[in-house]
Structures are given as structure tokens and as C-alpha cells.
């Protein structure tokens, strides 16, 4: 169950213990630090180090680009990563597409490989399938990125092409079927004070 609220020219999405806030200028330095870190960069299609100037220019272009949307992922009020979707046809807006290509990285090391890493994807996909009514997600992943491949298989993706890059597709019905249980787990109440705190 997600809550979707208008936010700037996009939407803020809350659910499964996390919040997806549209990326703002105030987030850019943190995103650049994560994006240029070796573990994240190695998994990217473009694995070059990005300059601060290029990063800010990308953000300026993003303001006029309806074909992609980027969010900052926060857990317990702290930023932990970033997620995005983009259309697969140039000139098409995210809100008009039948297929979207997702992206995600968890920048905070302690949450990489943690169950919470599924939460931003669940919130984003609920929004895309449930509110934007897209037909499918198509992910393109480096063949050596076994963690991402496994992650996607657990979400219900199926491999449709495999070379240096692996193309995977996820239909709405398959997504709903595969993720019912994890959604329930991540929707349980938060810890109460009587059981101790971190």
C-alpha cells in the first residue's frame, strides 16, 4: 500500500517503510558522492566518474525532460539511495509510456544487500503499475552484475535477451503474484518502544 502525493512537478511516494521524494537540487552532492563510489559506478552502464559540473548540468536538463523521473530514497528519514524510471522511446513522457525502464542504487553501504533494498522498488512499481498503468518494466543489467540479476529474478522478472547486457521484463500480473508476501512483511507496524530501540 503506497501513498502518492503531488510534489513539485512530480510525486512523492510513501510506503513499505520508505519515502521516495523527487530529487531536488539540495540532494545533488549526496547523489554524486554515491554515484561516483566504486561499488555503484561498477554496476552502471556508464561507469565513468561524473564531474560536479556535468552532474549539475544533468539536473538542469532533467527539469525539462518528461521522459525520466528520479527520486531520493529515504528510510527512517535518512537518505539511503536513489531510484528512477525512464521511457524506452525518446520523446515519450513517463506518464504516457506502456513500458518503463527502472534504475536503483542503494548508496548507504549498510543497506546494500538488506531486505529494505526491495522497498523502494515495491513502492515505485506499485506506482508505475497501479497509478501510471504501465504494462511492463524492462530492466537492462550488466551480465556480471549478479546481485542485480538475482534481485530482479526475486521480483519476478524474466530474462528476454542475454549478451554482455541482460534484458529482463516484468509484467504487472507477474509482479503482483511474486511480491505479495514481501509486501505484507514490509507493511507490518513499526517497532514499539517496549521492545527496545536501535
Amino acid at each position: 500500500m503506497i501513498v502518492v502525493e503531488p510534489y513539485a512537478d512530480s510525486v512523492k511516494i510513501t510506503g513499505y517503510q520508505i519515502e521516495l521524494k523527487p530529487v531536488g537540487k539540495e540532494d545533488l552532492d549526496l547523489l554524486l558522492t554515491w554515484r561516483n563510489s566504486v561499488p555503484i559506478r561498477q554496476r552502471m552502464i556508464n561507469d565513468a566518474v561524473i564531474s560536479r559540473e556535468d552532474h549539475y548540468a544533468w539536473y538542469q536538463r532533467l527539469q525539462r525532460d518528461l521522459s525520466q523521473r528520479h527520486w531520493l530514497v529515504s528510510y527512517k528519514g535518512r537518505p539511503i539511495g536513489s531510484t528512477n524510471v525512464r521511457t524506452r522511446k525518446s520523446g515519450l513522457a513517463v506518464t504516457e509510456a506502456a513500458q518503463l525502464e527502472p534504475g536503483l542504487y542503494i548508496g548507504e553501504e549498510r543497506f546494500q544487500g538488506n531486505l529494505i533494498a526491495f522497498a523502494p522498488t515495491l513502492a515505485l512499481y506499485d506506482y508505475c503499475f497501479g497509478e501510471l498503468n504501465i504494462q511492463s518494466m524492462v530492466a537492462v543489467i550488466k551480465a556480471e552484475n549478479t546481485a542485480a540479476l538475482k534481485y530482479n529474478l526475486q521480483l519476478g522478472y524474466q530474462t528476454i535477451r542475454q549478451q554482455d547486457w541482460v534484458e529482463m521484463s516484468l509484467q504487472s500480473s507477474c509482479y503482483q503474484r511474486h511480491n505479495e508476501n514481501i509486501k505484507k512483511l514490509l507493511s507490518r507496524p513499526r517497532r514499539t518502544a517496549s521492545k527496545g530501540t536501535e
Binding site: 517503510q17 538488506n114 531486505l115 529494505i116 512483511l185 507490518r188 517497532r191 514499539t192 521492545k195
Partner: protein
């Protein structure tokens, strides 16, 4: 059956691993058997074994066998070590 034994059995059953692999240092996502799907089965096994209902923060925090013990202790489950 001791609580240590119950815990071990829950991991063995949920992850389909040998008893010898269930040591405090065993961590989520470091062996192929302990993925998100197995984690959900593990939660169900632990809740059944100890008659508790874990909340989401605890499900997320349960990233190792040692952490599982620490979390279960909050639910009044005692372990000898």
C-alpha cells in the same frame, strides 16, 4: 528443545542448509540459500517456533544469526550465550 536448537532448526528448515552452517556469523545475502524469499520463510518459521509476531524493523534488521538472537531476546526469548 532449547531455544538455541529451535533457532537452528528454523534456519535449517527455512534456508535448506546444514545445521553446521547455522553460526552467529552467518549473514543474510552472503549465501545463495539466504535470499529475500528464504528470509520470508525464515520469519514465518521463527514466529511459529517462538510464538511471536516480529515487526517490520526487526524483519529488516535480522541480517545474521547473531542478530536474530538479539532481536528475539526483545520478545522475551532467552538464549544461553
Amino acid at each position: 528443545m532449547t531455544n538455541e536448537k529451535k533457532l537452528t532448526q528454523a534456519f535449517v528448515s527455512a534456508l535448506s542448509i546444514d545445521e553446521a552452517q547455522v553460526v552467529d556469523s552467518l549473514q543474510y545475502n552472503t549465501i545463495k540459500e539466504w535470499d529475500s524469499t528464504a528470509h520470508m520463510v525464515l520469519i514465518a518459521e521463527l514466529e511459529d517456533a517462538f510464538d511471536v509476531m516480529l515487526d517490520t524493523d526487526d524483519i529488516i534488521d535480522m541480517s545474521s544469526v547473531a542478530k536474530a538472537k538479539t532481536i528475539l531476546q526483545r520478545y522475551d526469548v532467552e538464549f544461553s550465550d
